[in-house]
Amino acid sequence: MTDRGLFRSAGFRFGAIYALLLGLSATALALFLWWATAGLLDRQTEEAINADAQGLSERWAEGGLPALIVTIEDRLAQNVDDDAIYFLADRAMHRVAGNLERWPPNVNTAGGLYELQVMRAGIKSLANVQRFDLPGGFHLLIGRDVQVRAQLRGLLTDALLWAILVVGLMATIGALVVRNLFRRTLANISATTSAIASGDLAKRVRLTGRGDEFDQVAEVINDMLERITRLMDGVRQVSNAIAHDLRTPITRARTRLEDAAIHAQTPDDLRAAIERATVDLDGIVGVFQALLRISEIEAGTRRSAFARVDIAPMLIEIEELYGLLAEEQGISLAVVAAPEVPAYGDKALIHQAIANLVDNAVKFSPPGGTVRVTASTRGKVDITVTDEGPGIPASERARATERFYRGESARSTPGSGLGLSLVAAVANLHGGELRLEDNNPGLRAILVLPNPEDPDPRAAALQAKHDFI
């Protein structure tokens, strides 16, 4: 995988997202910590001051100024924690009671908390104070020592600052790890596809076995690679077959023409030679047409024309067409089907596929034999064509649907060897299959089409994962 620069790599993005998430989580945690500790202390201080003020105002209400003074002095005398600050001042801001020297200069308004630097026996400390204005022009100051809180706040701040550094480090490391993980997983896929693109078709993407999303992608890619390999093999095969099987009629035509050119005595001889050559060429053209048709079918472009079709009338037509021919050859042709055989697919292709099977059966049946065509619909649609001819030996059945395959016993009969290949292609296109079995004697060819009642027969056809040859 080329390193397109740090910022454009998806791996970097994933890593950056991880780092960002980590940072945000850490920040959230830190804020919560702050609220739970330093924040708590703040709230406690405020509550304590308010409670104090409440109590003192009650004393004032009960006993006026004298009572208030006494209470203040009592509270101070019993302030074991040594954290309280009281100051009662008169209209002129002179001390009436309390443990401060004088009214702090900047505490001007009542209600809010002020921070006050105080000195307790030579030690600096910090206090939060609040001003209360009393009727009669008196002013009351109540406060609490918050030095501890201030220290805690300092500690926390320092700690968090260093924590930022640590989180930053961890985020960076984590991001790099994530990016590398990402890269490594993709590297395998990327390396495999590169190898294949440069010609090594045998490679496959390694699965980790975990069944996770990456494995699923790897599986899909491997499936695709299988298909590509198969198609490429098919192409190679076809090229070979074409080269091999078409060379013969092309050579024959050429030979005949050359022979006529040299040896023909009369214009009639020439004409005859030319006519024979034309027939040969037509034969070759026919083979090409059939090949094209098969390729077209395999490419799957006809799927868009699928519709509901009834196979029963097709069978009747085929029976009509081939019936006479069978009779001429002394073969009995029997068609058994329900009045309606619903299916889903391309009418013309299915018609041609069945016709090909019947054509083969009639061609290879010996006189006195029977060719039977049946259609059954139990779930899937099965169209079976049986004959009592030489059949196809089990060992050759797998190859029977390859293009240009001619069984050893069929080498002498006319035909291009593309019939079964086309039927197989049609079957695959529809998401079904062509099964070849022994009819004892003879061949039983079964064209299986999927159930037309499938919730989405088209999806079933599209998902046809059968091998294409």
Binding site: N99, R120, A121, T157, L161, W162
Partner: protein, 111 residues
């Protein structure tokens, strides 16, 4: 960029910043002027004396003899104050007073 290099760069960039900030704050904290500081008058030897006097008067006014703890605390407190450990002494005297006030079933000084 190699991962190790990235990490180093991040460290080198952040560490001095953090150090600078924390150090700076501590310095700032120590530099607050003495001018703003208010003296708390309840942490002085005089106040210690005042508390001692109060404890004594409270003891005299009580109906029952004071518990051992109170006496100990009071004595200790006075001793500490004389030796200059003002805050510690004040704390003990306050505690003694508190014990006295709350044990007496609420016998408060009324003036």
């Amino acid at each position: 960029m190699s991962p190790v290099r990235v990490i180093l760069i991040v460290c080198l960039a952040l560490a001095p910043c953090v150090w600078f900030v924390t150090a700076g704050r501590q310095v700032a904290a120590q530099q607050t002027g003495d001018n703003d500081t208010m003296q708390v008058t309840s942490d002085t030897p005089e106040y210690c004396q005042y508390l001692h006097t109060r404890v004594d008067s409270q003891v005299h006014l009580a109906s029952t003899p004071p518990p051992r703890e109170v006496t100990d605390l009071s004595a200790e407190g006075e001793r500490m104050c004389e030796h200059g450990q003002t805050r510690g002494g004040i704390m003990r005297l306050r505690r003694a007073l508190w014990l006295l006030m709350h044990e007496d079933g609420g016998a408060t000084l009324e003036r």
